[in-house]
């Protein structure tokens, strides 16, 4: 079995002696700060939300209501996702941010979560055999 990780060619890590302030500043740009960049065409078609998206919005509101986070913290946590911010759908950011908040604040542990995901997968497989 081959590894699922196919490595990209390694990017050179900047060496400290040529890492000037301009390069540092550019490196520190926050991932959501995209104003002025080419973004391609925007679809203007109405789209119905997927059920998991609606569930995500409800989870986010409940977390605010129960005092786990605030809306600004949700925004910050989605920016904290780094490269994942740009590669998952819009609602996916909120879902990952909510998950991370629950783990960071010790409401759940990652092993509890992965166990639960396994359990739900098993249940789902029994209900709808392929």
């Amino acid at each position: 079995m081959t590894s699922r990780n196919i490595r990209n060619p390694p990017q050179p890590v900047p060496s400290p002696d040529n890492f000037d302030h301009a390069r540092f500043k550019e490196s520190m740009r926050i991932v959501h700060d995209l104003g002025g960049e080419k973004g391609g065409p925007i679809s203007l078609e109405e789209r119905k939300s997927e059920p998991w998206e609606l569930n995500t919005y409800a989870i986010c509101e409940c977390l605010s209501w129960r005092g786990v986070w605030t809306n600004v913290e949700k925004l910050r946590r989605s920016a904290d996702l780094g490269d994942k911010y740009l590669v998952v759908p819009y609602s996916g950011r909120w879902l990952l941010a909510a998950t991370r908040a629950l783990v960071d604040k010790q409401h759940i542990t990652l092993t509890e979560l992965t166990d639960k995901i396994e359990e739900v997968k098993r249940r789902h497989a029994q209900k709808s055999p392929r």
């Binding site: 520190m28 926050i30 002025g36 129960r66 005092g67 986070w69 904290d80 604040k105 409401h107």
Partner: protein, 141 residues
């Protein structure tokens, strides 16, 4: 769900998720109830607004350390105050749950030509764009 280590015994029956001062966001839900956010911070800023409508202000290019909501494209650009919008904690603080330091937010109007070098025929440099910025990001020209 396992109970958070930050839960106080008092809160257990009411099911409040957090009560540690570090993660006390429930306070925001409480103070905003019925009034809204940022209305719940009205009168909480440390003094009156430093700037007034019509003032020409430059947006400071402060460091990007992990999080803020000041768009890069208005950094260093001069805009005009069109409205003193509201009082609120700075997003940089609120993003980590710190709400004790409240400041004034301004709605600024910028000329597109001051922001973008765009000489395409359909771009009008006199078009404007507005952005909301908190007081700490602003300095008089």
């Amino acid at each position: 769900m396992r109970r958070s280590r930050h839960v106080e015994i008092d809160d257990e029956r009411s099911g409040k998720a957090t009560s540690s001062p570090m993660f006390n966001h429930l306070r925001i839900a409480e103070i905003a109830e019925g009034v809204g956010d940022p209305q719940c911070y009205r009168g909480k800023a440390n003094g009156p607004p430093k700037f007034k409508v019509g003032d020409r202000l430059r947006v400071k290019d402060q460091p990007d350390l992990f999080y803020n909501q000041t768009p890069g494209y208005i950094r260093g650009v001069v805009g005009t105050v069109v409205e003193i919008a509201y009082e609120s904690p700075a997003p940089e603080d609120e993003a980590w749950g710190h709400i004790d330091k409240v400041e004034w937010f301004y709605l600024l109007c910028f000329r597109q030509g001051d922001i973008w070098d765009d000489d395409s025929p359909d771009a009008n440099p006199d078009d404007t764009i507005q952005a909301q910025v908190s007081e700490r990001w602003l300095e008089p020209v």
